[in-house]
């Protein structure tokens, strides 16, 4: 299978020979049409990269939540069978600590990214971008981070500063140094 390997040989001194092998493939990848790139890429970054057009407020999001989320996450984001999303009663140093979007999540954009890709669990992908903005706003409102009528869109959502923004220690890069 030598066509798959590019052999790099270095002669070190008179006797030593080091052979570094690098595997290479047959190059079968197909060019990707730009339309497919935009359709497939749904990653939303903390700086807002990847957020679509659209808008929504907590007032509008409450209806989306009641219709699509309340069954599992409970009224006002707590007391359901699925994760608690709001209404923490104590802090992260409590025993046990209370981890909600309000006390724990470092970025508001993550709510949009996760809800659009994974929720509602029985029919993910069924909400419009406006509905995702609205229900994101509602979850931020329930966590006392924004007001009822604050509009969330591609500009305002990344600007929301989450209470636990500085709560994380990067153990990978730390270990690297």
């Amino acid at each position: 299978m030598s066509i798959f390997k590019s052999l790099l040989c270095f002669s070190l001194g008179s006797a030593n020979m080091v052979v570094a092998e690098e595997l290479i493939g047959p190059g079968l990848g197909l060019q990707t049409p730009p339309a497919m790139l935009t359709q497939w890429n749904r990653d939303v970054f903390p700086d807002g990269t990847g957020l679509p057009l659209g808008r929504g407020t907590a007032r509008e999001g409450e209806a989306v939540y009641r219709a699509n989320c309340i069954g599992c996450h409970g009224p006002e984001g707590r007391g359901g069978s699925a994760e608690e999303l709001a209404g923490a009663e104590h802090s992260l140093t409590g025993d046990p600590p209370d981890k909600t979007i309000g006390t724990y999540w470092p970025y508001a954009t993550t709510i949009f990214d996760f809800t659009r890709r994974s929720m509602p669990l029985p029919n993910p992908g069924s909400l419009t971008d406006d509905q995702v903005y609205a229900v994101t706003a509602y979850l931020l409102f329930l966590n006392l981070i924004i007001e009822h009528d604050d509009e969330m869109n591609a500009r305002s959502l990344p600007a929301v500063v989450m209470p636990n923004r500085k709560g994380f220690i990067d153990s990978y890069r730390q270990a690297d140094r």
């Binding site: 990848g29 890709r117 029985p122």
Partner: protein, 429 residues
């Protein structure tokens, strides 16, 4: 008891390796038949029951061939236990029954599962892998394309970052090893080195991370550092020689040796090269470990050294005195297991266990040690050391360092208390 007391005494003096009846690990290997026979008490005082000369199955032809074999009907209890959400049956886990298995390979039907929204029935003809972002050429690969690429195989464990989390509880959980530590499994994975595909797309200099995404209903995404991707990650297509099982990512999954299971994205359909992590839900809200200070460790990727005695363990019962072969598993996300020590006196003294070949990096390693049990109260434990010098901690050390609310990355020493009656329970020591 059936033992000859003199031989027992001789044996203990000569081969004792540490307290509580642990014997030299080479006993089974080097001493051959004479001592093995002696340790089992010589000739048993009981005689074998006279069986019928030909059992029913030996008097008639057996079943014909089968297209795909299944375990014996007598092994029906060897299953994954399922823990799922009533409102969302596709959300939960199933555990590998480590207490029922031997060796280091997990059978494909018993590999642990963690699904966020069920197992998709992916048609491989329609599945695509898109590699894009900070690349020179965004490319799309079909599964049949990838099957033509050069492949590599490696034996490797996958362990969920949340494995063993019951260890954080105040009271020791009383359940079989598999339902406590069985979110870890080990397979031979075969696939295309990720570096091969990354070379084909051409990485742009600013790229530092890869955001991987699955093609199931949860479309889970997570960020992986680029240096790891180039180091040893595989685009896995085969598991233990056959194509991936649906619940393990068919037709394509990412293999990230030694790192948290959640990074080994199943049903892989997209790799997005980026300068920064996406800060997905599963690298912020989950798979981060809250410390007593209120700060949380993030990107704590490597699964630290862990070991546990699988035989004997909770749910087994010692019903005779005499020689036992302690058996267990050790693994470390950092690399090779260098040494496993076993204690039969709650950690006062330790004896080195025999490591069974092969001993491979980021792979289950089977350890064994002969042990004489004469009905004494004992506490059995094991501790793993890896090639980087990392040591499996005592539970008290781990809690002193991390508190009790980190949930993920529990790797403390596991202790089994055995009573005079041979009953085994899980204890904190």
């Amino acid at each position: 008891m059936s033992e000859q007391p003199l031989k027992a005494l001789e044996l203990n003096a000569k081969f004792e390796a540490s307290g509580g009846g642990l014997l030299d690990r080479r006993l089974f290997l080097k001493q051959g038949l004479i001592f093995t026979a002696a340790t089992w008490g010589g000739v048993s005082s009981q005689t074998a029951r006279a069986e019928v000369e030909r059992e029913s199955w030996a008097k008639q032809p057996g079943k014909p061939f089968s297209n795909y074999g299944l375990p014996s009907d007598y092994e029906k209890k060897v299953i994954r236990w399922i823990m799922a959400n009533d409102d969302a049956p596709g959300n939960g886990v199933s555990w590998t029954p480590l207490h029922e298995l031997e060796g280091i390979v997990t059978p494909n039907g018993l590999h642990f599962e963690r699904h966020h929204n069920g197992v998709p029935a992916i048609d491989p003809e329609r599945h695509r892998l898109l590699v894009h972002g900070l690349v020179k050429r965004p490319l799309t690969f079909s599964v049949s394309d990838l099957l033509q690429y050069p492949m590599q195989s490696r034996l490797c464990f996958i362990e969920c970052g949340g494995n063993s989390n019951a260890g954080w509880r105040r009271e020791p959980i009383q359940t079989q090893v598999g339902y406590f530590h069985g979110m870890a499994s080990c397979s031979e994975w075969t696939g295309v080195p990720l570096s091969v595909v990354l070379q084909e797309v051409g990485i742009k200099g600013r790229a530092k991370w890869i955001i991987a995404e699955g093609g199931d209903a949860s479309m889970m995404n997570i960020s992986l550092p680029l240096d790891k991707a180039f180091d040893d990650c595989l685009l896995a297509l085969y598991q233990n020689g056959e194509r991936l099982r649906p619940e393990n990512g068919y037709p394509l999954r990412l293999l990230v040796p030694g790192w948290e299971g959640v990074l080994n994205v199943k049903w892989l359909r997209r790799l997005h090269l980026a300068a920064k992590p996406v800060m997905a839900r599963n690298e912020t809200a989950k798979y981060t470990e809250l410390l007593p200070s209120g700060k949380a460790r993030q990107f704590s990727f490597v699964m630290e050294p862990k070991s546990l005695i699988t035989h004997p363990s909770f749910g087994h019962r010692l019903d005779r005195h005499g020689l036992y072969s302690i058996s267990g598993l050790a693994w470390s996300g950092h690399g090779i297991i260098a040494k496993v020590e076993v204690s039969a006196d709650g950690g006062k003294s330790w004896a080195e266990a025999e490591l069974q070949e092969p001993v491979l990096p980021q792979c289950f390693t089977r350890f064994r040690l002969p042990w004489r049990w004469q009905g004494q109260d004992v506490v059995l434990k094991s501790r793993a050391f890896d090639e980087t010098g990392a040591v499996q901690p005592e539970r008290s050390e781990l809690i002193a360092k991390r508190g009790r609310h980190g949930y993920f990355h529990y790797n403390a020493i596991v202790s089994w208390a055995i009573t005079e009656a041979g009953e085994i329970s899980h204890v904190y020591l």
